[in-house]
Symmetry: C2
Subunit: 193 residues, 2 copies
């Protein structure tokens, strides 16, 4: 029953990480606190030493999922920090990404669930989306306004395609949507350099 302060911080972090994964896989109501604790080898009684409520975990896990996506995107960035949009679409619209929502985009997996939660959660979501559009926009040419417009266009097209591909599951229709949208996006991208 080891429980140093370092253990506590680690348990908190492991809970957020596991929740971020399971929520994306099964939805925000799709896993119980008992099952989450069990996944860490713990029993459910200790949960409330780490979070005031299940909602508090949901809010933290949602932000953690966004941060994971940001870190993954950062690996596709050049020296200026601008993401390689073509490679990003290759990953985002892949069957691998479609089939592993637990490690993938939180927006496509959780936006519908988030739209049904309280405004505190939705305010955090808005901030994250705002940041996302800024980060992606930086990879486009033009002034700030044009960059933002292009980021909104680029991302909503990918979100929509992944949403449908996941709903359709492993199928011809799913591949058709992923391939079609990827080709459309990549053919309209600005030439790098």
């Amino acid at each position: 029953m080891g429980h140093s302060r370092a253990d506590k911080a680690q348990t908190h972090e492991r809970l957020v990480e596991a929740a971020a994964k399971r929520f994306r896989e099964r939805g925000l109501d799709g896993i119980s606190l008992a099952d989450l604790m069990k996944e860490l080898g713990l029993t459910h009684g200790g949960f409330y030493k780490h979070f005031a409520s299940r909602d508090a975990l949901v809010a933290e896990a949602m932000e953690h999922a966004f941060e994971e996506s940001e870190r993954a995107g950062a690996k596709l960035a050049d020296a200026d920090g601008h993401i390689d949009l073509a490679r990003y679409a290759d990953f985002y619209l892949s069957e691998a990404h479609r089939d592993s929502p637990g490690n993938g985009c939180a927006v496509s997996a959780l936006s519908a669930d988030i739209s049904r939660r309280d405004d505190a959660t939705r305010a955090r979501y808005r901030e994250r989306m705002d940041e996302t559009f800024a980060r992606i926009g930086a990879a486009f040419p033009g002034d700030a306004k044009a960059q933002r417009r292009q980021a909104i266009e680029y991302m909503t097209r990918m979100y929509g395609a992944l949403l449908i591909a996941r709903g359709a599951g492993d199928s011809d229709l799913s591949r058709e949507v992923l391939d079609t949208v990827r080709e459309q996006l990549q053919s309209s991208l600005p030439t790098p350099g």
Copy 2:
């Protein structure tokens, strides 16, 4: 306790209709059978005279929601049955549509939930999406292949935008996404006639 055969058929239909609405509003797990029956003025015990299981209701309600959208879209069609794409975007990307998921697009509201259900439900979803792309494609110029590509592009852009707008709720960000994507879509539409 009236219960003629006509009553039974009507109760079944009313259940499907109420479920189609509540599922879009609250998610596929967001309303209990007891609450649904109560909404019709009935008690929960009678539910299984109408459906073999909750899953059976989910499957029927999902299809009902798609059919509602098809009927709504049909009102925007010209004499040839081709939908008016600009007016469709006006409605689809409106704040009114964002704020009434219970009467709106099932794809944006339910695709993430559907991706987590059994393959029988997902197969029905695929059929409906296939029909959607065919119906929308008919409004675009070119051969069948080009029409389908344009329909996939047009719809995934709208799905993605509505998904984000709903996640963001009533806010500047939400309006920005709706307005930006609507303008982008409408400026690229073929001239009617």
